[in-house]
C-alpha cells in the first residue's frame, strides 16, 4: 500500500482551500537505469477529491506531473470539522485514499 498523502484543508471565507502532497515516483518511462534498461512508467493517472460525497475536483494525469505531486485548489462551501477525501489511482492499478479535516 502506498505511503500516505499530506492533505491540508483550510476554511477561507466561504470556501475551502485544499493543498495536497502525494507520495509517488511518477516515473515517466523514458529513463534508463544503470544497466541501460528502461525504467517502466509508473505514475498517477487519476485523482478525485470529494467533500460530502460530492466530487469537487477530478483530474487525469500523465507522467509529466512532477514526482511527489503537489496540487492546490479551492471550492465553495465546506464546514470546519468536515472531511475532504482525496483518492488517486496509478497505471499499475494501485490506489490510495486519504482524508483531512477542514480546519
Amino acid at each position: 500500500m502506498a505511503d500516505p498523502m499530506r492533505i491540508r484543508a483550510t476554511a477561507v471565507g466561504d470556501s475551502t482551500e485544499v493543498k495536497v502532497l502525494m507520495n509517488h515516483e511518477m516515473e515517466t518511462g523514458q529513463r534508463k537505469d544503470a544497466q541501460g534498461k528502461t525504467i517502466p512508467a509508473w505514475f498517477i493517472q487519476s485523482v478525485t477529491a470529494t467533500y460530502n460525497g460530492k466530487t469537487v475536483l477530478s483530474a487525469q494525469w500523465g507522467p509529466a506531473v512532477s514526482k511527489n505531486p503537489f496540487l492546490s485548489f479551492k471550492f465553495k462551501g465546506g464546514t470546519k470539522g468536515e472531511k475532504v477525501q482525496i483518492t488517486w489511482t496509478d497505471n499499475r492499478g494501485d490506489k490510495r485514499t486519504d482524508e483531512a479535516t477542514i480546519s
Binding site: T50, V56, L57, S58, Q60, S66, K67, F75
Partner: protein, 158 residues
C-alpha cells in the same frame, strides 16, 4: 466505459474527446476511479495540432482571461516547474496543461465541477525550455493562453 460511451453517443453527434471524457469519467467518481477510464490517446500526442485534434478542437481562441499565477519564467530545474492557472471565463468546465516540447504534450487535465474555483496549481516536468499552454474548456468552447518557461540547470549540474 462502454455503457457511458453509448449514453454519450446517443445524446448527439459532434462529441469531442474531452466531452466523452467528461461524460464517461470525470463527472462520475466511480468511473474516474477505474484505471481504464484514463484516456491514453489524449496523453500520447506529440504536437499542438495533434493534441487539439484529439481534444476535438480546431485552434482554440487566445484568451486574456486565462492567467498564470505563481508560475516563474525560469525554472532552476525542469523536474519541478510550478504552474498555476486561473480562468476567468464563465462556465469553465476544465483546465488542461500542455507542454509543447515534452515527449507528450498533455501533462494534466482537471475537471472543474460547479462550485469549484477555476483556479489551481500543480507542478510539472519540463524536458527543456518550452511554451506551456493553459487550455480551458468553457461552455463547450476552447480557449488558450500560453507562457514561455525557460528551464535551466543550477550549480555543478547535480
Amino acid at each position: 466505459m462502454d455503457v457511458e460511451r453509448r449514453k454519450v453517443l446517443k445524446a448527439g453527434g459532434g462529441m469531442t474527446l474531452l466531452t466523452m471524457l467528461a461524460a464517461a469519467g470525470w463527472l462520475e467518481p466511480q468511473a474516474a476511479l477505474a484505471a481504464d477510464a484514463w484516456n491514453a490517446a489524449a496523453f500520447d500526442t506529440r504536437s499542438m495540432d495533434e493534441t487539439m485534434k484529439a481534444l476535438g478542437g480546431g485552434a482554440p481562441a487566445q484568451s486574456k482571461d486565462i492567467t498564470f499565477f505563481q508560475t516563474p519564467d525560469i525554472a532552476e530545474n525542469g523536474a519541478v516547474v510550478p504552474v498555476g492557472i486561473t480562468s476567468a471565463i464563465p462556465k469553465t468546465e476544465s483546465i488542461a496543461i500542455l507542454i509543447e516540447k515534452n515527449p507528450n504534450m498533455l501533462a494534466a487535465v482537471f475537471d472543474i465541477p460547479p462550485g469549484t474555483d477555476p483556479s489551481l496549481s500543480t507542478r510539472v516536468k519540463m524536458g527543456q525550455s518550452s511554451n506551456v499552454y493553459a487550455l480551458v474548456k468553457a461552455d463547450g468552447k476552447y480557449y488558450v493562453a500560453s507562457k514561455e518557461i525557460k528551464v535551466t540547470l543550477g550549480g555543478c549540474g547535480g
